[in-house]
């Protein structure tokens, strides 16, 4: 029996896939399924819910706080992801050059990513404090401002401040991954293009970018996913305030489900994030990974 199993490629394949399948079902499919189910119930903490159909979603659609959280999440994700990409690519290209103490800089660039998110969030909480902000202090000492900047007390200031914190934390991931991608590009392409008289911009546009696109697609997919589902930074720095101006879907979901006790509604908010995340993934795969474009062809 055992011998038969060992000789059967299909059976062996299934067997080897089993641990991964169990892990996926246990830690991914089951929670997602449970979350989806809860979203259709009025479950409260400590009380099993009853099926209420689309009631949660109907309420959330008309709920101004949820709509604001959706806007905040999209704004936060789009702006932070663009900034992370631009800065990350710039840093990657810089670090790919033959500069002195390259290894040191490569290590330093990773620091924000190494620091636990909660700790960096606390640091930013101090940096943005209405009374103790080091930025305001420096600007005041320099005579550039007379009153401390209310980074977190004004809705748009708070949105932009939290985006800045997210960018600071997320840039290393983008930069290091793109750097790895840059190093896979053979120098012969650059030599050939230089002989053909290509300018550095043309080299970047027609050699670097197309060859880097598959990595960009992957790294930006992850970056968008991480940003869209961000929780820790917001929870520590603003807890969704002021006036819910920085509430993201994830923080609102937590607030409603755990402190608010409305598990069903919180789950519905989380599940409402899925279509947006799927759209981001599909855009990345079908938009950025177009083979023709990568090979210099038309769209």
């Amino acid at each position: 029996m055992l011998q038969k199993l060992q000789d059967n490629r299909n059976a062996l394949g299934l067997l080897f896939m089993l641990p991964a399948a169990v892990l996926l079902v246990l830690f991914l499919t089951y929670p997602l399924g449970l979350g989806t189910w809860l979203g259709f119930t009025d479950a409260k903490i400590g009380r099993t819910g009853e099926w209420i159909g689309l009631d949660n979603y109907q309420f959330l659609w008309n709920d101004s706080v949820t709509r604001l959280a959706l806007f905040n999440t999209i704004f936060y994700t789009v702006v932070a992801s663009i900034l992370k990409f631009v800065l990350g690519l710039y840093l990657a290209i810089l670090l790919n050059r033959n500069i002195r103490v390259k290894t040191f800089f490569r290590a330093v660039i990773l620091l924000p990513y190494i620091v636990p998110t909660a700790l960096s969030a606390i640091a930013f909480w101090w940096i943005y404090d209405a009374q103790f902000s080091i930025i305001s202090w420096v600007l005041t000492k320099m005579g550039l401002i007379h009153n401390y900047i209310d980074f977190l007390g004004v809705p748009w200031n708070a949105r932009l401040s939290t985006i800045a914190a997210n960018v600071w934390r997320g840039v290393p991931f983008v930069a290091i991954t793109l750097l790895a991608g840059l190093q896979t590009i053979s120098p012969s392409y650059y030599e050939a293009s230089a002989i053909d008289g290509a300018t550095p911009w043309q080299q970047f546009r027609h050699v670097t970018l197309p060859l880097l696109t598959p990595i960009i697609a992957v790294v930006m997919t992850f970056s968008v996913l991480f940003t869209f589902t961000d929780f820790q930074l917001i929870y520590v720095i603003t807890r969704g305030g002021p006036l819910n101006a920085t509430h993201l879907m994830a923080t609102l979901s937590f607030q409603r489900a755990i402190p608010g006790g409305a598990l069903g509604e919180g789950a519905a908010i989380s599940i409402a994030m899925v279509p947006f995340l799927l759209a981001a993934i599909l855009f990345s795969y079908f938009g950025l990974q177009r083979r023709k474009w990568q090979q210099g062809g038309a769209d």
Binding site: R47, T238, G241, R256
Partner: protein, 441 residues
């Protein structure tokens, strides 16, 4: 779980001792004479307690001394885990939901009303303590005896949030005594702002310190709900309160819209604000500070009750602490015995002293504890449990009240109206809709 009715109470493990019931006024106290009682712990019992992290060091020091005494006396090993108080709620909820976790949870506000059927009935223990120590304050019943019969947790007390101010700064602004009414309060804020020493209260999603917004709507005769749990936020009384908040806010220190719980402490101790709402922890921190400048500030710090609004009576909101025995525990009797031991005067008095005024007792007997008189600055915090109104006042507590509190509906409403981002009417309408969602339960 062992059931424990009055017959067993008298026949079983109880040992009779003298005692008196001081049932007076609104305080709940059964007419039966108090008796000493012990619960017989299960064999090889071990207990795990999850409690909120101390706000003042003396709290946990005294608590652990009592825990050690309990272990020495009973041989029951007790492990105490500490978490930030805001983290206890989700952990307790998950424990209740999954049926696994600490045997005893020291949690806050109406947590017990979120999952009353997941908690051990502690009526016998509360009856006993109530009888022996002069009766529980009404707020304790509101939180932990929701049906008027069964106790679902043992009250521990209240972290009072009172007005904390710098006497010298008020004097410099021409304020001789702390105002007793809302008009005087507004005038004080205006004067302090004019002197460049403004006050401020949290308007961000601060779980504890944003509680002043409940005082505000109550002071003007408003409430989250009426006695029938009908949401009453979009009412003339609440609108008046919001108009007042708008006026008051213009004199606040900058940044209060983003303030979370620690912000006012930091600003106060740095001398940047003259008045705020807080527990006694600011004063205790100043008094015990190693920094000479901050230590010096302690003598200038004073405490006062929240001013009374047009409604004509005190309307205080504080952070209530409960002690819950989870139904899934294998050792309910040991857990009860532990809580009984900790609540007995021999232990509780020492713990209250250790808390240095941070926690106001739930039983009237402890009004006599010297901590309330040894330093006159502690006295305003003495009656916090006595005067407390739950956030879900005047309705019944439960999923809806806990949810509305956890979702910051009232603080958000006040913040929106105060900052001018919404008109008072718009803010009230929005809050009304949000609260109705919870009270649909």
């Amino acid at each position: 779980m062992t059931t424990f009715d009055r017959r067993k109470f008298l026949e079983g493990t109880a040992t009779v001792a003298a005692g008196t019931a001081l049932g007076a006024g609104a305080i709940w106290a059964p007419a039966v004479h108090a008796q000493n009682v012990t619960f017989k712990p299960e064999k090889d019992a071990k207990l795990r307690v999850l409690r909120w992290s101390r706000f003042v060091q003396g709290d946990i020091d005294a608590y652990m001394v009592n825990v050690k005494k309990f272990t020495e006396k009973t041989g029951i090993e007790v492990r105490v885990d500490n978490e930030g108080w805001e983290d206890v709620r989700p952990k307790a909820a998950v424990a209740a939901n999954t049926g696994a976790g600490p045997d005893i949870i020291l949690s806050t506000n109406d947590d017990a009303d979120l999952y009353p059927d997941k908690l051990v009935d502690v009526t016998d223990l509360c009856d006993y303590l109530g009888k022996k120590y002069g009766g529980w304050y009404p707020s304790c019943e509101a939180y932990l005896r929701p049906d008027g019969n069964k106790w679902i947790g043992v009250p521990l007390g209240t972290a009072g949030g009172m007005q904390v101010y710098r006497e010298s700064m008020l004097k410099a602004a021409g304020i001789a005594t702390f105002p007793k009414d809302t008009d005087g309060f507004l005038a004080m804020y205006k004067a302090l702002h004019g002197k460049g020493t403004p006050g401020g209260m949290a308007l961000g999603n601060a779980t504890g310190d944003s509680g002043w917004t409940y005082w505000l709507i109550w002071a003007f005769g408003g409430a989250l709900v009426d006695k029938n749990n009908k949401v009453t936020l979009d009412t003339p009384e609440v609108l008046k309160a919001l108009e007042y908040a708008k006026e008051l806010y213009q004199y606040f220190a900058p940044g209060t819209l983003s303030w979370l719980d620690p912000n006012n402490n930091k600003a106060f101790l740095d001398g940047q604000i003259s008045v705020t709402n807080n527990g006694i922890s600011i004063y205790v921190a100043a008094k015990n500070s190693q920094d000479g400048k901050i230590k010096e500030m302690a003598s200038d710090i004073q405490h006062a009750a929240f001013p009374i609004g047009p409604v004509g009576k005190p309307t205080e909101y504080h952070l209530f602490f409960n002690q819950l025995i989870m139904k899934y525990t294998k050792y309910p009797q040991a857990a009860k015995e532990f809580l009984r031991f900790m609540m007995e005067a021999e232990q509780f008095d020492d713990w209250l002293k250790g808390c240095q005024g941070y926690v106001s007792h739930p039983l009237s007997h402890f009004e006599k504890n010297p901590i309330w008189t040894v330093d006159p600055k502690n006295t305003p915090y003495r009656d916090c449990t006595k005067n407390l109104r739950p956030a879900g006042w005047a309705g019944k507590l439960g999923y809806a009240s806990a949810g509305a509190l956890g979702d910051f509906i009232v603080p958000n409403m006040v913040a929106e109206a105060a900052s001018g981002s919404k008109s008072p009417k718009e803010a009230a309408e929005r809050a009304q809709k949000r609260a109705e969602r919870y009270y649909k339960v």
